[in-house]
Symmetry: D2
Subunit: 347 residues, 4 copies
């Protein structure tokens, strides 16, 4: 039997915090010791999430109230900017899994350019490991601070990294058309997120300026050995709660879709959460909803020397809290699937 | 450690069959040994449900191919009419949990009147136990054949039985306005179930002739000690996948909403899946989605001597496959929550 | 050819204001001369509603900027409380159609009890006509101030008034289970109205305390000649944009569903916007979406001496802006259907 | 006052037929004289579309029953294959607007390759005019047979043709990521179109083999003066009823997004249904729902020498029945907007 670890969830009132609670409640070796939610401190968790009446503890605290001596790991679901300050104040004895963007970009200037904020903790930044579980498992296992990737980058990089590394696809002229459900926008109050503004409608947003672009470019550059990669990344908002799907249009270096499917299948063969679908199958968000799975397909384009890669995941699970739990497992030496064995909810 | 039981799922291609697979995959003591799906026999489960690629076994069989000597329990998710014949042919050594309507109505004539079919197995009918877990736990535990209640009756009876038995509410003039998501209609091809016919719309259906009415009337009569109970039952179809909510308008016998909330809270105090919400809280389908929970609220009406009871559940879980698994636990002596501990998926 | 009337829309940025613009743009005899939107004054209409780029005028003004000498009619789509003050300041030469609740309740105390505000303009209140077009057409035609009914009351009263007046249905023990799309909540920022809080879910709200109850009770009392009527009114929020459906459970005074269908058909025979559906047909919100129609059905209950009445309408059209335009037609002597001939949008 | 034309709608029970009825009911100069629906012949229109109870005529006929001597124009909403045979049998005196794919592809072999059917009426094929109203207005005005474009091609070509003709964009390496609501699949019974299979989910379909690709390629080739154009075209199904949005990734020939926005604005300046949105605005399906508008935006990509064009329309209106009515107006010399002035329905 594994040793039980004590986990604090920072930012329990947001959707990613809530999904971390849902997943950890099924975790055999992780024990939630405290929940924080600055704005709701003093309330019970079930006051804001009635589905969690059976979860323990119930009380929502401020971060100041946490007794860190009792904590092994903190999972942090705060907005960027807020995260870096708070994380810097956590004692060294606590491991940290950050779901915000604050420790994803290794270059401080890039962070400042895209987020409009200075990064004040360069030491932490250089210490942080990019938490794409299937690709940085060893570094994650030995790290103290893991920066979980954005939801879109997780889908994109899961599809692209193996074929980029294999030289089968070019980093030039990469076009990534992304679609996401509305929980990707979190629980914040904006007119654009009202039901009546979204239901029965579809639109792109953040064209050519979405903050997940530099994160994807950083990792593609590392994989390809290039200093600069510039991609097209165009997200769209879809009238559904959960789910994300990216359609990637790529130039090949001689390889075809079958070759790439083989490369991907070989790479992910022993990775429990990534499934490469057959040439006659199509990834669909409903096939992964509520689960930590990512489904990837590759298709030959009619345009010569081009392929289409499609990847889908649940933005709140593999795209956020699920990958956080997966990283917790890696950091603690647990089986990678602990707490993550639930099958998708479909329909 | 409990003994492992071997389970066959009959009708694995329907939505209730699929949700039984989802739930049993997390069950610590139940092992799926075979899956049947007449129409899809020979295919893999993942051919029709790509989210189940990791489930074992994968092959879909006909019922004729099942080796019953190896089976402890059959969970049956077939349409009514088909069920009774098939169940009659299963060897005595196998326990059966039927999710169809075939063994719910104790009166053969009532069955014939409402379903337009004769019931050909009166012995099985008298042997069958009505599988409302919280109310017939003992009988279920010792039975060979359990008839899981309909989804609407489960919600209605969970709210009403304790207050009827306590004499707080009258069986006269009961009005039940019910609302359900679309999975309640199953996966069958009907124009009325097309996305474009349902999205962005709401309508009642089966007004004054829905087949769950006699089932509710039977159980209310038993609880109240009345030979005949006639209720209003009016279901509505709501543009969502899962979830069911019943709003019950009832005449009181002197008691008020607080009294009834106490009665319900006391009755369900030790029942893990029924939650009685406070007077300032409101049941919502999203608070139970994907889980085996049923939430119940009671509210004082402005009309004198009347209360409003509201109950909600996931029609595919507590309303069908979840209650089937709960009954399996009762029949096998497992902890009642085995395989059913997943928290709701919200958002 | 009719004389053209000049119309100001007060509160053009809300959903009811926007739908008034949509409908008036097709009106042959009404000319929009100004649009006000306090919060957005100075912007163009198309800045907040891109679908209205072709509408003229485009500029959004404050009410102070309106030159009333040029205005025949004001359609007011402001929140209650704000409305009464603003309307009191409009010159006598302007006719007013108010879509708020401020002039619906004839009794100042009732208004104060339910809205928590004093009503400061009793003279205007006694002058105001309740704008249920099919039932108060003559009074509306000769009035200066029309208070358009709430969306729910329009549906409920359209179904009930004729059968109440005919003595076929009792005002005692009336139970009204109401369901509405989300636009009924307007465009205001509330967490409960976020897409991710509503999609794939259903819940009641305002149980036994919704403000449309006293409005319905007032009109039922007038129709039945009773001083006090108390009803059950229980609304539910449905995951769709538009549409409202009320299911009314009523006791009969000897009459049956066929009798009532005849009464309703006779009453609405020459009313273009109310359709009484046959006994084998079912009202559905999608059959009226985007239009000024109201569909009503009557069904015999299995419970003796009870019927079920179902009425549906588009809450933004017949439930608000459409009825406002219908009242404008009555007040100006136009054909009642002017500007309202669009058929429903389905699917 | 214009002369009234008599119109037959062939295939009135499908969604495109139904939307043609909705639009023509507001047309000042078009009179529906007959409706056909082979499968429903003998029924009333309101039996299958209750929202059309006020439409005249009500009776649904077979095509054989039509008295063509009384008909000026036929609007045909049948499936491909069926259309060509039926249209060939219509007398010469009747003008025809076909919404199927049968007369869109000028090359018989291409038709056979993509539709798996022979084209048996080459004379009609060479006579047919491609009904993209803004681009072939003159030819449409003088034609007898108009082949309305597919919904996707209408969106794509509206965005691309002017900039292709201006030489600002290359036909090489064009990538078109398309998203559509579910009405695009029509009212046919397929498991994939059930509500529970689509709601809360997103997926691509027909990757690299959708039949709208050759239609787009044909028209791009004509515009660019190229014999062969091969594009990427990847459609996705979105959980909403109406609306379509295409995101086009294109290589520039020196021009930038501002240049193209100017080209498009100039080309569509006098075209009432095409709106070029500003650089800070984003096309959204909800801005055109229920209307004949097409909104187009152009954005500079971060990848050098690349732009992103976005176009959106209602697939049942500008993508089908609305463009059919627009073509009817052109063929009859009516104002192009006759019957098409309704503003979008939003929310």
């Amino acid at each position: 039997m594994e040793k039980i670890v004590n986990v604090v969830i920072i930012g329990a009132s947001g959707y990613t915090g809530a999904d971390a609670i849902r997943l950890l409640s099924e975790h055999p070796f992780a024990n939630i010791t405290a929940l924080t939610a600055h704005q709701h401190a003093g309330k019970n968790l079930s006051d804001i999430y009635p589905q969690f009446a059976s979860v323990s503890p119930q009380i929502l605290q401020t971060t100041d109230e946490i007794d860190w001596s009792n904590v092994d790991i903190a999972i942090c679901g705060l907005p960027h900017g807020t995260s870096q300050k708070l994380i810097a104040a956590i004692p060294d004895t606590v491991k940290i899994i950050d779901m915000s963007a604050d420790f994803r970009l290794k270059n401080q200037t890039t962070y400042q350019d895209w987020y409009g904020l200075s990064h004040d903790f360069p030491d932490l930044l250089s210490e942080a490991v990019y938490g794409l579980s299937e690709h940085y498992a060893e570094a994650i296992a030995s790290s103290r601070l893991v920066a979980c990737p954005g939801c879109y980058p997780t889908a994109v990089l899961t599809a692209l990294l193996p074929v980029i590394k294999a030289g089968q696809v070019s980093c030039e002229d990469l076009i990534i058309d992304a679609k996401s459900g509305v929980t990707g926008a979190g629980r914040s109050l904006k007119e654009a997120n009202l039901f009546s503004e979204i239901a029965e409608g579809l639109a792109p947003y953040g064209i050519a300026r979405h903050r997940h672009a530099p994160e994807i470019e950083q990792e593609l550059g590392l994989a390809a050995g290039l200093d600069n990669v510039t991609i097209n990344f165009t997200p769209h908002l879809v009238p559904m709660n959960r789910g994300e799907l990216v359609t990637i249009y790529a130039k090949t270096n001689g390889a075809n879709a079958d070759d790439m499917r083989s490369t991907l299948a070989a790479f992910y063969n022993d990775k429990p959460f990534v499934t490469i679908v057959g040439e006659n199958e199509t990834p669909a968000t409903r096939h992964v909803r509520g689960s930590n799975y990512c489904h990837v397909g590759v298709y030959q384009d009619r345009v010569p020397n081009r392929v289409i890669l499609v990847a889908t995941l649940d933005n709140l699970v593999k795209g956020s809290s699920g990958q956080a739990v997966q990283n917790l497992n890696l950091m603690c030496g647990f089986d990678e699937t602990s707490g993550l064995t639930q099958l998708p909810l479909y329909p």
